[in-house]
Amino acid sequence: MTTTRSKVVYSPVFTDGAEFRIPTFKLLKQDGSLYKGAKAPALDKDKALRIYRTMVTTRILDERMLAAQRQGRLSFYMQCTGEEAAVIGSAAALDDADMIMAQYREQGALAYRGFTIDEFMNQLFGNELDYGKGRQMPVHYGSKKLNYMTISSPLATQIPQATGYAYGQKLAGEGNCTITYFGEGAASEGDFHAALNMAAVQRVPVIFLCRNNGYAISTPAAEQFAADGVAPRAYGYKMDVIRVDGNDVLAMHEATRAARSLAVEHNRPVLIEAMSYRLAAHSSSDDPSGYRSKDEEAVWREKDPILRMRLWLERKKWWSEDDEKQLQETMRREVLETMKRAQKRPPPPLESLVSDVYDEVPPVLAEQFEKLKAHIRRYPDAYPKSAEHAKGGA
């Protein structure tokens, strides 16, 4: 049985899809005013300020932690700089019980949910309070209580998982959805296509949020795909799609709010393509000067999403110069003090090397662990992080 309903022609007719030009949804101009004809979104003062504070906090955290990496305090870091509106504006449109399955640059979504600076620091320094028990590189956060799935380095693997997670939510009838974030580079992976197709076929309440930030490490979007961005792919799967100015926090919030309603109330998965720019390097190990110009960066620095929201808040008299100064000072101090505390905490215990591989340590692994402890006891000076822990046991 074919599902294609198509009119018949009698000479070869090719089509390149050019008729499907996807518009970009915008509400907010860079000067903080609304576009003519743009409808102000339903966003109360408290929520607007919570979004703004989270954006500023994320920016400060990123600046401070990149500096810490440069000082050698931290092995690795990844900034969200330039994409705060895309991440936090969308996350703020969700219910707290909705699952977030992110790529790795979405710390702002986690901060919005209430992850504390202390919790961020414990993961970054992999200390004994890190929920991930010091097993993953910095920025691989996760929180069960905040419904934020632990980050996994392999790209795009979270996308079909989000489809599956959301299918489970649909069966459970909880009235919740899953949102998954990924970059335009990750959208080239097979997992992306599998995920969108399966979600459309099964009518799963999932939101696919593509952060089209222009670069996959050094590869520009123009070398990633020939098409008009990632959005047109949704047509191929018969999925609702919207392209949004990713530096426009109001548009991101409104688009995600509407997408969530399609997903949860109508079981229609949605693809959102947020057009933005990765102002920072890919990671602390990357140097963009090798593949893009300062001029190009300057153009996007002018479109700073945080400044754009601040100007809107100021126009509404919800924010002032003093408020800004106070927030900046408070957050900088908190980040610095919290970092110092987290850095001093001890590493996770030696047992965390073998726990959680399975629900219980299997005999073969238990034997390896006993051998390791005996070895460490013979060479305690070579293993300063665990010599104390190795004293226990056989």
Binding site: R135, S152, D191, A195
Partner: protein, 325 residues
């Protein structure tokens, strides 16, 4: 007790699990109304509805990615890969995701509810791509469990054990036995333990170890050896990962000899891991080198399948050589 073949036993296990817990879901290519290309999921959609037993698009990485998400959410997915030969598009989701979900999150999240079923092994004239035994690739991945049943009774009990085990489990079904292996299967819900080998027959001269369809081959070879007066101890490993070193080592302490057989190629095969571990454990007790009787280091052939496979004659020869060393 009911007389069943292995397919019926597997179908019965899935039916049992779905009846007991509405979070159990079965899906994969053609598993819906058709009941799977081998009919292992027959009637499950009719009985439990399209939401719990359904066809997926033809995309193995999507099937396992979807299953990982479902398991993380708290569902109990039983995902089918139509042939183990086609599991490789899902290798990343299994090796980097399923296996590491619990560890990398510090046990905040896990996909312990996940079971992946796949028909596996040769002997059905399936050629390169309907015959492979890929257990060794996955045995190199901590976090996974790998189970292979030898008959219908074991298939139902081990599959229910796998579904209820709190760790992601690969369940490889020797498809040569699907209809060929018939036996009495209890009607109730029973679960056989994972990680435990089973001594099927006690003996004193040599230990012969295998899993899945090789157990039938071993039994034929042992019949021949016993006629020559060789007393063989037969062990079914049942779980490849994590494997039961104690049972195997205790047997070799007694017999002093070990023959391991599997269909997969020799180099990098799981027999190598067993041989290395047992020589370390039992070095002073060994009377002869540990023998491996396996498929050859070639892709799986078609017309010369019989020559390629480690049949009862090859296993018998290895038993003889081990005793005569």
């Amino acid at each position: 007790m009911t007389q069943m073949n292995m397919l019926q036993a597997i179908n019965n296990a899935l039916d049992t699990a779905m009846a007991a817990d509405e979070r159990v879901l079965c899906f994969g290519e053609d598993v819906g109304v058709f009941g799977g290309v081998f009919r292992a999921t027959s009637n499950l959609q009719q009985k439990y509805g399209k939401a719990r037993c359904f066809n997926t698009p033809l995309v193995e990485q999507g099937i396992i990615g979807f299953a990982n998400g479902l398991a993380a959410q708290g569902s109990v997915p039983v995902a089918e890969i139509q042939f183990a030969d086609y599991i490789f598009p899902a290798f990343d989701q299994i090796v980097n995701e399923s296996a590491k979900f619990r560890y990398r999150s510090g046990n905040l999240f896990n996909v312990g509810g996940l079971t992946i079923r796949a028909p596996y092994g040769g002997g059905i004239a399936g050629g390169l791509y309907h015959s492979q035994s890929p257990e060794a690739y996955f045995a190199h991945t901590p976090g996974l469990k790998i189970v292979v049943p030898r008959n219908p009774h074991q298939a139902k009990g081990l599959l229910l054990g796998a579904i209820h085990d709190p760790n992601p489990t690969l369940f490889f079904e020797p498809k040569r036995l699907y209809r060929a292996s018939v036996g009495e299967v209890p009607d109730e819900d029973y679960r056989l333990p994972l990680g435990e080998a089973e001594v099927l027959k006690e003996g004193t001269d040599v230990t012969v170890l295998g899993w899945g369809a090789q157990m039938e081959v071993i039994e034929q070879a042992v019949d021949m050896a016993e006629k020559d007066g060789i007393s063989c101890e037969i062990i079914d490993l049942r779980t490849i990962l994590p494997w039961d070193v104690e049972t195997v080592a205790n047997s070799v302490f007694k017999t002093g000899r070990l023959v391991v057989t599997h269909e997969a190629p020799l180099t990098g095969g799981f027999a190598g891991e067993i041989a290395a571990t047992i020589q370390e454990r039992c070095f002073l007790y060994l009377e002869s080198p540990i023998a491996r009787v396996t498929g050859m280091d070639t892709p799986f052939p078609l017309v010369l399948e019989k020559e390629h496979l480690p049949n009862h004659l090859k296993v018998f020869e290895a038993i003889r050589s081990s005793v005569d060393f």
